[in-house]
């Protein structure tokens, strides 16, 4: 509201419409943070200081990067739109708590600088910024990242095995499941027995893997508030479950383990990097699920969420073109 107007009480001339909804960009971002809060707070309670430090480092890095970029480029400050905060929180939740601090800071910087600002800021980026940051550090410091879950007081899992073996060892339950699968199920790793820890308290993995139940709760909040379209998580989780079953594994385990829920509800649904047409969103969600499942069962890493979503981000504009809605009054699409 321009100050002159209030001072002079002069009516403002504008084109219609003259009223607008109360939904704002920062309001939407705030709801995303609120929806993430239960899982994030529970991660902090469960993991303690390393988790709190992770949030501070990641959000601090994304916010400072965006603020500094705007200041140096002499652009309007955009920190209040809330998107840098969401990127920071999402990035933190995608990282194992004992990740070295400089990796987190680098991921935050890359997420904002190369994931968003270089394209022109919010609205112009092709890829999900948080995933760009995560992908960058995953690839750049693959060794450090792979060992991160087992660093410090975090121990790798040692799960008692059957079939004449003593135990199977892996960084996460997903890694253990992969090892068991590679051995043709020789260890007899019981996937159904993992539901409870994965749903409520799982300390092996990223901050976002602590409680699947709280992520689902957050996803429901976003769906109920109309902030995300059900088509993306439904397509994603549906395809993941169906393919896991088709590949001979337990669908529920594969949905609640790893980054699928964080990806399906919070990452793939990022407005800017996902399609806008309804059918395109469904196809995109299914694509994420398929790539995630294929990556998990046949890829080199047990966790394939990051690259599944990034790849689908890349073809989102194409999906929008293919699934362009029919305009009212047009019987056939007229190219």
């Amino acid at each position: 509201m321009s100050p002159e107007m209030t001072a002079e009480r002069k009516p403002v001339v504008t084109g219609s419409p003259q009223i607008s909804s109360t939904t704002t960009c920062s309001g939407i971002m705030l709801w995303v943070v609120i929806a993430l809060a239960p899982a994030a707070v529970w991660a902090c309670i469960s993991m303690g200081l390393p988790a709190i430090r992770m949030f501070a480092l990641a959000a601090g890095s994304t916010l400072i990067t965006e603020g500094a970029w705007n200041a140096i480029a002499k652009k309007r400050q955009t920190l209040t739109d809330g998107s840098a905060l969401v990127t920071g929180v999402l990035l933190a939740m995608s990282m194992p708590p004992m990740t070295p601090w400089w990796i987190t800071v680098a991921a935050g910087f890359i997420a904002i600088a190369l994931g968003k600002m270089i394209f022109g800021g919010l609205g112009f980026n092709l890829f999900n910024p948080a995933l760009v940051g995560r992908a960058f550090v995953l690839v750049s410091w693959a060794g450090v990242m792979a060992s991160a879950p087992g660093r410090g007081w975090f121990k790798t899992l040692d799960i008692a095995a059957t079939g004449g073996y003593d135990a199977i060892t892996g960084a996460t339950r997903l890694a253990v499941a992969a090892a068991d699968r590679a051995a043709g199920g020789a260890y007899g790793f019981d996937l159904a027995a993992q539901y409870q820890p994965l749903l409520w308290r799982n300390l092996e993995g990223s901050l976002g893997e602590v409680s699947a139940a709280l992520l689902i709760l957050g996803g429901m909040v976003l769906l109920f508030k109309g902030i995300i379209d059900w088509r993306i998580p439904a397509g994603y989780i549906g395809a993941m479950g169906l393919l896991s079953w088709a590949f001979g594994s337990d669908p529920i385990f594969n949905i609640i383990a790893g980054g699928v829920l964080l990806g399906a509800f919070f990452m793939a649904t990022d407005y800017v990097s996902s399609p806008m047409a309804k059918n395109a969103r469904l196809a995109y969600g299914i694509g994420c699920g398929v790539l995630n499942a294929v990556g998990r069962f046949y890829g080199s890493m047990p966790e394939a969420t990051t690259f599944a979503i990034l790849f689908m981000n890349g073809i989102a504009p194409l999906l929008d073109r293919v699934f362009r809605p029919r305009v009212f009054g047009w019987v056939k699409r007229n190219g």
Binding site: P11, Q18, S21, G121, G123, F124, R281, F328, G329
Partner: protein, 432 residues
């Protein structure tokens, strides 16, 4: 086939409570009337009176021979004091006849229009679409011979927030509305009459049902903006889409506003020309209400009659807040299409965005668009003046209902950007 529910649309706060219970009351004759020679779409009229001439209530003061036009009548007995350009609510400048009313007025009498047949009476009475489109009614009553119209749909949805003029008309004089609908059906040879009202006006629905004969359907439609948009209304009743580039008559339906129907009934039954209309004056005014206002009354006089504005004024709108323009000056006259004057406080008005805020691609605009367009895409191309790019997304199908701008979280002026793209598509001949 979901009858009664078009896809898309929004639920803006309806804000009708302030005036929904206010009976229509006459606004006293103001000290002067300014009558634009163009209160309709189509050829403007030429003044046929001279300065200093005395005119009577109902006398034609402007006319033209063109088919798509409507004559203008003097609403009062009075003297022509000026013929000069005036500003209209839409912001254009047109020739207008200024009349100083006589001290003595009898608003109960008027010069009857002379016509040989009902359709000529409607033409001679200067009736135009009173929902705001102001398309000359006679033209709509003359559909091409090859497109038979079977259904007359009366639009009493009044889906615009704040406005209650149609609501009060239907509630207070339902028989005039029904009479008008029957006259329209007779003129075009339609067999079915449907009067549509949003279900937030139950009293008006009951009044119409009580007054309607068995041959007239009164339909309660879900309250959702823009339920009263012509194409969406036809879809609600017939489940047919008006084909791109075709007239609504292509679906076999003709839509008229309820106030237009009442004016048609008046013209045919009593020879009454269109010289006044009901205007909802509401928002931040002292005495919000529904006023029967003589055409040509200055909006400044009308607001003064409503007790003046209250507190800080953000915008003053002619019509409803979803489609009406904000006024640059209050010295503009009430015209045939002026359904309301809405005074918004700065807090109620949409925020004025200082810089261009980027589209965050949330898709809310596409979801809200009742024409299934992708407003963000047209807006983004239009903002960088790529008219071919914008043209690929069918800007000409936009009905300018305002849903996209309303829902946009970053408050992009989407309708405005689409209007520019439309103009470019028309002038540069870009094909959709």
């Amino acid at each position: 086939m979901a009858k009664g529910a078009f896809k898309g649309g929004i639920h803006p706060p309806d804000r009708k409570a302030a005036t929904a219970g206010s009976p229509v009351e006459w606004m006293p004759v103001p000290s002067r009337l300014v009558l634009p020679m163009s209160q309709h779409l189509g050829a403007p009229c030429a003044p046929i009176v001279e300065v200093g001439q005395h005119v009577s209530r109902g006398e034609v003061i402007g006319s033209v021979d063109a088919f798509v036009s409507a004559p203008v009548h003097s609403p009062v007995d009075g003297e022509v004091t000026a013929i000069a350009p005036c500003l209209t609510a839409a912001g254009s400048r047109v020739t207008a006849v200024t009349i100083k009313p006589d001290a003595e007025q009898d608003l109960g009498s008027f010069l009857r229009v002379e016509a040989d047949d009902p359709k000529s009476a409607v033409r001679a009475a200067g009736v135009v679409g009173m929902g705001g489109a102001t398309f000359p009614t006679t033209v709509k009553l003359s559909p091409p011979a090859d497109t038979p119209v079977n259904t007359v749909i009366l639009n009493g949805c009044e889906c615009e927030p704040f406005l209650t003029c149609d609501h009060r008309l239907m509630l207070e004089t339902p028989s005039r509305v029904i009479d008008g609908a029957q006259k329209i059906a007779e003129l075009i040879g339609a067999s079915r009459i449907v009067i549509c009202v949003e279900d937030n006006k139950q009293d008006a629905i009951e009044a119409l049902r009580a007054a309607a004969p068995g041959t007239v359907e009164v339909r309660a439609l879900p309250t959702r903006y823009p339920q009263g948009a012509e194409k969406q209304l036809i879809w609600a009743i017939l489940a047919k889409e008006v084909p791109h580039g075709k007239l609504p008559a292509a679906t076999g339906a003709l839509v008229h506003n309820v106030a237009t129907a009442a004016a048609i009934a008046d013209a045919i039954d009593t020879g009454k020309p269109l010289t006044e209309r009901i205007v909802t004056v509401t928002g931040a005014v002292k005495r919000p209400g529904n006023y029967r206002v003589l055409l040509g009354t200055l909006i400044s006089d009308l607001i003064e009659h409503a007790g003046g504005t209250v507190g800080e004024v953000g915008r003053i709108i002619a019509g409803g807040p979803m489609t009406g323009p904000a006024l640059a000056s209050l010295d503009v006259p009430v015209a045939k299409g002026t359904s309301g004057i809405v005074v918004l406080t700065p807090q109620e008005a949409s925020p004025l965005v200082e810089d261009d805020q980027a589209c965050i691609r949330c898709g809310r605009c596409s979801e809200a668009c009742p024409m299934f367009l992708q407003p963000y895409a047209i807006g983004n191309y239009s903002a960088r003046q790529d008219w071919n790019g914008a043209g690929r997304f069918n800007p000409l199908d936009c009905i300018e209902c305002g849903c996209c701008s309303f829902v946009c979280p970053t408050k992009r002026p989407l309708v405005q950007l689409i209007r520019i793209a439309k103009a470019a598509a028309l002038t540069k001949g870009v094909k959709p």
